[in-house]
Symmetry: C2
Subunit: 297 residues, 2 copies
Amino acid sequence: MRFGDQTRYRIAEGRSQLDLLAAAAGQALDRAGLGPADIDCVIGAVAGDLQPIPCTAALVWERLAPRSQVAAFDVNSTCTSFITAVDVASRYLVDGEYQRVLIVSGDVGSRFLNPGQRESNELFSDAAAAVVLTAGADPERGVLTSLQQTWAEHAHDTEIRGGGSLVPPYAYSAERTADYEFDMDGRRALRNMVRVLPGFFEEFFDRLGSSVGLGLADVDLFVPHQASRALGLAMRRIGIPPEQYIDWVSDYGNMVSASVPFVLARCLDSGRVRRGDLVVLCGTAAGLTANALALRL
Amino acid sequence: MRFGDQTRYRIAEGRSQLDLLAAAAGQALDRAGLGPADIDCVIGAVAGDLQPIPCTAALVWERLAPRSQVAAFDVNSTCTSFITAVDVASRYLVDGEYQRVLIVSGDVGSRFLNPGQRESNELFSDAAAAVVLTAGADPERGVLTSLQQTWAEHAHDTEIRGGGSLVPPYAYSAERTADYEFDMDGRRALRNMVRVLPGFFEEFFDRLGSSVGLGLADVDLFVPHQASRALGLAMRRIGIPPEQYIDWVSDYGNMVSASVPFVLARCLDSGRVRRGDLVVLCGTAAGLTANALALRL
């Protein structure tokens, strides 16, 4: 659907978040030329769960290969869950604990939007994306460094209050619908984000420099979470020039946990990035959380 | 409260899961002689979230030290979330990425019980527990080996269907209350659990043997998830004698994600285990997931 010059995607009637996640996971396996039996671990890295119990990874795996065994768990840092999951998975891969990890991300934000809150209502798209990470023998490739930080004093800038234990589903009523919908104080969230990001990236680049001797200029592509139309403003504040990052907010909006893997997958498909390139996955999430991870493809 | 000879605990009116989690986290810091500034990372390891957005770790940290920064994310494998979180955290600690990780677990199962389903209604207790894991120089201590597996064909033996995207809060109605409550097919869950556990533990002990040359007899204490009154039956099937594990189901019931850290903490307090002991944290969770982790204290 369109909001002015902005394109957003909505899940089809009768389709579920599980349908999207399972389709993305199946595609990732097909592209990798692998079957479920090749996967040692599946990580669900979504913002909003399918069910409170069991975890999303188990429910996705039930669709893919119910009769096979796998290690299955979820990792959650809201919109940057995928980045956190890549960081966690890479440690298991480097340790030799797993050989191949499937990470599946995706949300159906449209089902939790408040039609009265125009900014968020016109921002989100429904999407899913998945990747397979494989252990490799080349120590130059893989995750080079990462950084994650949360500024919890801003935990309520962006939230869905209802659906967990604090505001349970059974307290739902026609008078309280807004409690169960996405609630974002866009101006406050942006102000806080812009305030913390420069220092955060300074620390990230310090790590990249001290660990592998690389800097901003060595990064082939930044793949930021497509948080909002203020993405360009945030990247300018950090000092990342437009040619070095992807801004597809007008074309796809904020795809919640799917934004980062979706953009990464598209850039791999198109040849925008390829083996050997240095990619930085990054973004901000509700929390307020910032995440950055340097990945040598 | 009492059900026959079984004691169960219920959260006080007006108290929340967040109150329990924050209290447990605060106690863990106090016992460790640490303040929030000493913590690099906080992992929320609960079965049921506080809110859909942001993650539980961020909301707990907001209570503890809102003006400080920390890496905050959640790890979820339902009832064994704590064990998964210890495994994840230990990799960050060994890598030198973090020096101290706070893991906080706990659920308020009583708020999601179906009074018509006697078996589950009389099984759960509300509880929270937290630990601080610290990087150490002694390679003999810490996590020695771990194993996690999910049999997703049994994903619906134990579940809460409603509250996420598949059966959203706004679909709640007086006719559908059971969809939002804990639903366990106790006999089926037990049958499947007993079927998979012996092979799972055989593999776990193979790992323990091949990685550090230890076996069942070297384990000072098994700290199992207090899943149900069938705990003794399950341990018998695995071949673990009563004196080697804790069964407090009659005294505390199933404390969901808090069971394992609560029992561990009590055993540390009482001197039942101490520095140098080999402890195996283990259990089954909705998924169907099995988890085991050997920890040298």
